[in-house]
């Protein structure tokens, strides 16, 4: 079983649409990170959230950490073709190792 479940697995939308990607678990995390990966490259960190209920904004991207620190969401407003990529969440278990556990990712395609 996957410790971090991401949904949806695939998303194909038109430029200008809004979307939300989810990262859910039954475990509590001390921190959670979101990465974006483009083809042929390694993942690049977008944000780290550590406090339950925390909301962070990065231009058109809004990240939220659940109150119980078991889930997170990424919302993109007015998606652009440059947002295309694989979005990965990664969490470090509370009281556990500092090695992050990754979800399987959400593959996003934004059509012009």
């Amino acid at each position: 079983t996957q410790l971090l479940e991401q949904s949806p697995q695939f998303l194909s939308i038109q430029e200008g649409e809004n979307l939300t990607v989810y990262c859910n678990s039954s475990s509590v995390f001390s921190s959670l990170q979101w990465y974006r990966q483009e083809p042929g490259e390694g993942p690049v960190l977008l944000v780290t959230v550590v406090t339950g209920g925390e909301v962070k904004k990065l231009k058109r991207l809004t990240f939220q950490f659940g109150d119980a620190r078991k889930d997170s969401s990424l919302h993109i407003t007015a998606a652009q073709p440059g947002d295309t990529g694989l979005y990965l969440c990664a969490g470090r278990l509370a009281g556990g190792s500092y090695i992050p556990t990754f979800g399987r990712g959400t593959s996003l395609i934004v059509h012009p």
Binding site: E41, G42, P43, I99, R104
Partner: protein, 115 residues
Amino acid sequence: GAGVSQSPSNKVTEKGKDVELRCDPISGHTALYWYRQSLGQGLEFLIYFQGNSAPDKSGLPSDRFSAERTGGSVSTLTIQRTQQEDSAVYLCASSLGGGRLNEQFFGPGTRLTVL
């Protein structure tokens, strides 16, 4: 360069052969991680180095996999007697330390294909 580099970028090998994958982390980063990424499977943790020691190698899938790090810098991941199920992209990442807030910087990966 300023980022994490990996070589080769692509490797095609025959089943049963040994392969070595190399990772050059960012200078000054003490922590180094190896991951494996298969289609639709996310990133699978393999091994973590702090300096030259590997306090966590719990992710290595079998004894055919080994890794070392020398001089607190370059790391090599070796796969012996490769199998077709070893085909994947192998990613290396480094960070300043191993703490929960440390950002991991990833290399572009080595795509391994075992025929």
